[in-house]
């Protein structure tokens, strides 16, 4: 058996997928690291005071200019909506509706101004709110300290205001509630989720807006209107409803301005624009161009407005508002102050000096941020940072010198003014370049990388399919399909690396790996193509063979059509946000359909009915075979399992009427003591039942007879693990106060029991690795048994048939025979449990993993795990029965139907263990099973949470080789007899051939091929799902739901793929390990 090539091949395929995923992720997922630092009033950022004036009380960094600011956010207020062009005769529904802004801007040019407000992609509301308050560029993943909440952890405008004792009042979109918990002095939230609802939020705000403004109990008032955005989503911008909505906004602004005091600054901003269809999220001009309108009853601007409204980035709002209100600029801000708002009413020199002051502070803050950021992350290019640093220090130096000159009054006005202007422009240059550097690395998709990743994944899928069809194990197969491609890849990597060294480019490891992967893929297809014509020629020389091949291939294709169509539906479902949201229902539906299709097909082909005898044929009647009824019962059990597993679902916020399963919260949260006790007992009883079932299964196949450490572990360790888990559950779910004095003991126990389980499980797994054999050999060579009957133990096995079914290995016999004949000595060896030695090892491993994963979930989810085990068992049986009924001629290849149903069950149980592919649904508690609330590293909690999240992926992937082994384990003596009846001449040879899994050992080449094929098929189906996710993310990257639905789905799917593929490799290597052990066992036996 070729073990290493198989594993190497699978590992190589996994590597291809991983590099594709990595490449795609690097292009798609914009990441950034959140800094925990925050600015404070005492930070020495201001330049040396040049006029000796001290800050007025309540101001930080610079004197405050406005005590009050009203920020009106009109969601999706595109720049064109706010623009007013009186010359237009027939305005579109969204044009010329905000006439009041135009009126203000023209009648009071020094009080009001309209700007083009450039949003940074992703233009989704949540990311924009983050950008508008932190002054940074939020990406999809802002790597912060806490994933569990949406709350903004970074320093932000609201936090600064609260820190400095200001009152922030909010009304509108309830997204803010999650982002800024407990930050608001007063708040009126309205549900934002229903996109179809145009009025709830707006009318709610209007109800509270004016009374709040009049009461004056606020320093920053934020009103976030959603109607325009919802109208865009529902009707699109070019619709009469939009005209109504914008007119309503216009009236709102008109009366709002009436209520404002003289000391108040009014800002009207859109957080992003919208496309012609009303969507947003991407980076097209229409989505990015929002409007900003600034107004105050005191004069703001020293100059007249420019002809064309100025374009300013959205991040500029944060430092501007912060300094206008006299609070520190948030730490991570990269925006630039809008200097014209700081001009004041002095002469041009003092105006310029004032502007220079705010620029100086702003630049110092940005420099401080860049410095701190470059210490924790390397994603900003070093040489550009160096360049920025030089710009900054020279500007600051010059500023200080200039200030000294001003103080000594050495410069006359015009010269000073020009110097000041040039210095201002240098600060501006610095700030803009800094922002550009950040934008470059945080807010750009890399389409080339995305397409490259997609292509790599697609090509790997194709490779899996081709190789699984091809897999005829021979040395030439491995040489041409594994060795050469690997060499190609390695060569490319080395060449590329050398090229990098020579050109002194920075070596991007990810790109290097992707190049290697692409080259090895090319190599594979090249060699495969090279082999192809040879095969064709070979077939061409034998025409009848070729035609048979064609017919067979047609039949294979037809047989493929059903499972592949189900897979197609599953992949298609990834392209619709509704279906991704409803996937918890979609996967079981498709699984049930697949199984029903299988039954229908078997029935249609007449495999379920009794073969027609002459009498029945005359009547035209037929009835079901006994095995068919078994199959139908199994299907019924499967369907019930599938339906029951639906009671463990978690909810997503997209489905408001959904109620999360009552089984998800831990028992400790249950008030009713009786229910708690009942549930606890039920969980423990079922756990014990699982152990009992596994043990009786093993005993049935004779795997519990030896006294190996592993078998002893199964006998005594399993109950012990269950005991530990039960104790842990008892301690964890007991009411905290009821224990009183025992509290300390409980503290210890709550740590000790999980550790006991971890320890026992790892001992079990280690034993499994060291002695994977669960075979008991009964050597009876001394007792001179007859060589003719291969079953030495038949009489005894009939007596205690349920206890042991002795297994004997025929080839063993033959080799013994040849040897023994020479020695003229008769003997035989009865080996108990040899027939299921592979499956037994896998079942033990799965049970141990199951214990571990159950421990990580809340107590009542163990019911879901039991359903999982039951369903997997039933699926295996259905697979076996269906194959034996259909009279499958190829026992060594697992049909697509089984692989697809296995994977559908895996994704079904992802949902049925209380998970959803969104971040808030992750069970963070799992990180603290066996730990108090401290972790020295991030690795361990990540592993625990990952194991919890991908529990079903792990179990199903490790159990995947069972699909190959099960039909051999379930090989029925009865079917053998039937066969022998049909072919009486072969009876003598077949009647006693009860070899089960030893059939696999008999043809080691076929065995390794079968494992390889199974692995490739599994990876193909997984890869197809992943590919669908990736394509959905690429195609729908402008979709409204991309950051809420598709991107998290892609992330979970790709992580699930990685976990599954690694576990698949582990499962297959476990089988190989058992095979090794079996080989050594035989050689020892022969030596004896």
């Amino acid at each position: 058996m070729q073990r290493w090539p198989v594993l190497l091949f699978l590992a190589w395929v996994c590597f291809l997928f991983f590099s594709g995923i990595g490449l795609f992720m690097s292009g798609f997922l914009l990441t950034r690291i959140e800094l925990a630092n925050s600015s404070s009033c005492s930070d020495p950022l201001a330049p040396p005071p040049w006029d000796k004036q001290s800050l007025p009380p309540g101001s930080c960094w610079v004197p405050q200019r406005f005590p009050k600011v009203v920020l009106v956010i009109i969601d999706a207020l595109r720049f064109e909506f706010a623009l007013f062009n009186p010359a237009k005769v027939n305005p579109l529904p969204y044009e010329n509706k905000l006439s009041f802004l135009h009126h203000l801007a023209t009648s009071q040019p020094h009080h009001a101004r309209l700007y083009r407000f450039l949003a940074d992609p992703p233009t989704a509301t949540m990311q924009r709110i983050k950008g508008l308050t932190t002054g940074s560029l939020p990406t999809f993943i802002d790597v912060g300290s806490n994933f569990a909440t949406y709350a903004i952890q970074e320093d932000n405008l609201l936090a600064q205001l609260v820190q400095n004792g200001r009152r922030v009042v909010f009304m509108g979109d309830d997204t803010w509630e999650g982002l800024f918990p407990k930050k608001f002095f007063r708040s009126y939230f309205f549900p934002s989720f229903n996109v179809k609802d145009l009025h709830t939020v707006d009318n709610g705000i209007l109800q509270y807006l004016y009374p709040t403004v009049n009461s004056g109990e606020w320093d920053l008032l934020i009103a976030h209107f959603l109607g325009v955005d919802h109208c865009g989503h529902k009707h699109g911008p070019d619709h009469p409803e939009m005209a109504k909505k914008l007119t309503q906004m216009n009236e709102m602004l008109r009366s709002l301005v009436d209520h404002l005091g003289n000391d108040t600054l009014l800002l009207v901003a859109g957080d992003h624009g919208m496309t012609e269809t009303g969507d947003h999220g991407g980076d097209s001009q229409r989505e990015v161009n929002a409007a900003l309108f600034v107004y105050s009853k005191t004069p703001l601007f020293g100059t007249d407005p420019p002809e064309e409204p100025e374009a300013i980035p959205q991040v500029n709002l944060v430092p501007t508002v912060a300094l206008l209100l006299g609070v520190p600029i948030p730490y991570s801000n990269i925006g630039e102050v809008m200097a014209e708002l700081f001009s004041g009413d002095g002469d041009t020199v003092s105006e310029a000096l004032q502007q220079l002051l705010v620029y100086h502070i702003n630049a110092k803050q940005v420099d401080r941020f860049l410095h701190s950021y470059s210490l924790v992350a390397q994603d900003l290019p070093a040489e550009q940072l160096q360049h920025l640093q030089e710009l900054f220090s020279s500007a600051v130096e010059e500023h200080v010198q200039l200030l000294a000159q001003v103080q000594r009054a050495m410069l006359v006005s015009p010269e000073l003014e020009s110097k000041l202007r040039s210095l201002i422009s240098r600060f501006q240059l610095y700030l803009r370049q800094a922002r550009a550097v950040c934008t470059q690395s945080w807010a750009r998709f890399h389409p080339l990388r995305m397409v490259g990743g997609c292509t790599l994944i697609a090509a790997s899928c194709l490779l899996c399919y081709v190789a699984s069809e091809l897999a005829t194990v021979s040395d030439s197969f491995y040489r041409s399909c594994l060795l050469y491609p690997l060499l190609w890849g390695l060569m490319t990597a080395v060449l590329r690396g050398l090229a990098c060294v020579f050109t002194q480019e920075e070596l991007d490891l990810l790109l290097l790996l992707s190049w290697a992967a692409a080259a090895s893929l090319l190599g594979f297809f090249w060699h495969w193509w090279g082999r192809h014509p040879k095969r064709a020629r070979l077939l061409g020389s034998q025409p009848p063979l070729a035609s048979i091949g064609l017919r067979q291939r047609l039949r294979v294709w037809l047989g493929l059509a059903f499972p592949v169509s189900i897979l197609f539906f599953r992949c298609g479902a990834m392209f619709s946000d509704s279906f991704v949201v409803a996937e918890a229902q979609v996967a079981p539906f498709l699984l049930a359909s697949l199984v029903m299709l299988l039954i229908g097909k078997l029935h249609w082909d007449g495999h379920l009915t009794v073969p027609e005898g002459p009498k029945q044929q005359a009547l035209g009647f037929s009835s079901y075979r006994k095995e068919s009824w078994h199959l139908l019962c199994l299907v019924a059990v499967l369907l019930v399992c599938v339906r029951l597993s639906g009671f463990f679902h978690q909810c997503r916020e997209e489905i408001p009427q959904c109620r999360p399963s009552v089984f998800l919260p831990p028992l400790a949260s249950l008030r009713n003591t009786r229910a708690k006790n009942l549930f606890y007992l039920l969980c423990v009883a079922l756990l014990a039942g699982l152990v009992y079932a596994v043990r009786s299964w093993l005993r049935h196949y004779g795997n519990l007879n030896s006294s190996d450490p592993l078998v002893l572990f199964v006998r005594w360790g399993f109950p012990l693990v269950v005991l530990c888990i039960a104790c842990y559950w008892a301690v964890a779910s007991s009411a905290e106060d009821s224990l009183g004095k025992l509290q300390e003991l409980v503290e210890v126990a709550i740590i000790a029991f999980p550790w006991a389980v971890y320890g026992l499980v790892s001992i079990g797994l280690l034993l499994l690795l060291c002695h994977p054999m669960t075979v008991f050999a009964k050597d009876s060579r001394e007792s001179a048994g007859s060589i003719v009957t291969p079953y030495q133990g038949i009489p005894s096995s009939k007596v205690d048939l349920l206890q042991v079914i002795p297994q004997i290995y025929k080839r063993m016999q033959e080799s013994e025979k040849s040897r023994l004949e020479r020695r003229s000595c008769r003997a035989t060896v009865a080996a108990y449990g040899l027939g299921s030695v592979y499956s037994a090892a896998l079942v033990i491993a799965l049970t141990l993993l199951g214990f571990l994963l159950m421990l990580l979930h809340s107590e009542r989810l163990s019911l879901a795990f039991l359903l999982l085990f039951l369903e997997a068992f039933v699926l295996l049986h259905i697979h076996t029965r269906a194959r034996s009924l259909a009279g499958d001629t190829e026992p060594f290849s697992v049909p697509w139907f089984s692989v697809i149903s296995w994977l559908l069950a895996a994704s079904q149980f992802f949902y049925s263990t209380g998970h959803q592919p969104i971040f808030p649904a992750i069970h963070w508690n799992a990180a603290f099973v066996g730990f108090h609330l401290d972790h020295s590293t991030n690795l361990l909690p990540a592993v625990l949470v990952g194991a919890n999240t991908f529990a079903s992926h792990i179990l199903f992937a490790v159990g995947c080789p069972l699909l190959l082994l099960w039909p051999f384990v379930c090989e029925m003596p009865s079917s053998q007899k039937k066969k022998s009846k049909r072919e009486p001449q072969e009876e003598l040879q077949t009647v006693d051939e009860h070899m089960m899994e030893m059939r696999l050992r008999e043809s080691p080449e076929k065995f390794s091929t079968a494992l390889l094929q199974l692995g490739l098929k599994y990876l193909f189906v997984l890869g197809a799902q992943l590919l669908a996710c990736v394509c959905a993310a690429v195609i729908l990257r402008r979709h409204l739901m991309v950051w809420k639905v598709f991107a998290p789905k892609f992330l979970f799917e790709s992580l699930g793929f990685m976990v599954s593929s690694i576990c698949l490799l582990l499962g297959i290597s476990l089988v190989m390990r058992v095979d090794c052990a079996v080989s050594t066992w035989f050689s020892q036996l022969q030596l004896r």
């Binding site: 179809k196 229902q585 049930a592 082909d605 007449g606 009915t609 037929s622 339906r643």
Partner: protein, 219 residues
């Protein structure tokens, strides 16, 4: 002979399809506020009843499966009772399968059950009319080369189409279009109905096109 029978089949099928269209239109004249979507349950009842009545009548008139021996009254009654029991059981079975496929268990039981009745009408009732309460014959018909007449061929096609239609009808349910027909079980029952009607129309055409290949075993 074959052509004539095919024509009879076509007429019968068109009659069935026409009756379904009528059930959607005619009751609106008599019942206030009737519409297929608005008062879906009423329509389900009307449609099931009409289709079953029509089918039974057609079966009695056309006699596609002439019974070989004359049977006594008591025999007929027992056959009839058996048919009723079979129909009821198939309703229950369909209900169970629909629930296992993910339909709500406790809420909207009526809707689910009526959908099951509709499906039974489209499938089981046809079998009962054509083959009588004889499971073995059913099993034979729904297997490869099992059909012995064009009526049985038509039965195969309509049944498969109805069930497929119902299955595809479940697809739009999760979509967020907020249409009235996405409510359970409207899309599924509409899908089944459309599937049934499509089957009724496809069956004669398919048989017509494949009449050369279709050779029925002698009874």
């Amino acid at each position: 002979m074959k052509e004539a029978e095919l024509r009879r089949l076509l007429a019968a099928n068109l009659l069935c399809a026409g009756s379904i269209v009528l059930t959607a239109l005619v009751p609106a004249l008599f019942l206030d506020g009737f519409s297929v979507l608005g008062t879906h349950l009423t329509w389900l009842c009307i449609c099931s009843v009409c289709v079953s009545v029509l089918n039974v009548t057609l079966c009695l008139i056309l006699k596609p499966s002439p019974s070989s021996k004359r049977s006594s009254l008591s025999n007929k009654i027992s056959r009839f009772l058996k048919c009723c029991i079979y129909f009821f059981m198939s309703c229950i079975l369909f209900h169970a399968i629909i629930v296992l496929y993910g339909a709500p268990l406790i809420e909207s039981v009526t809707e689910t059950f009526l959908f099951a009745v509709l499906l039974s009408t489209f499938t089981t009732l046809q079998c009962l009319c054509l083959l009588g309460p004889n499971i073995q014959a059913w099993i034979r018909v729904f297997s490869r080369n099992g059909a012995m007449s064009i009526w049985e061929n038509s039965l195969q096609i309509t049944t498969t189409c109805s069930i497929l239609g119902g299955w595809f009808g479940a697809f739009p349910i999760p979509l967020d279009w907020d249409r009235p027909w996405q409510v359970w079980p409207i899309s599924c029952s509409l899908g089944a109905t459309f599937g049934y009607m499509a089957g009724l129309i496809i069956a004669p055409l398919w048989i017509h096109w494949n009449r050369k290949q279709l050779t029925y075993k002698s009874r």
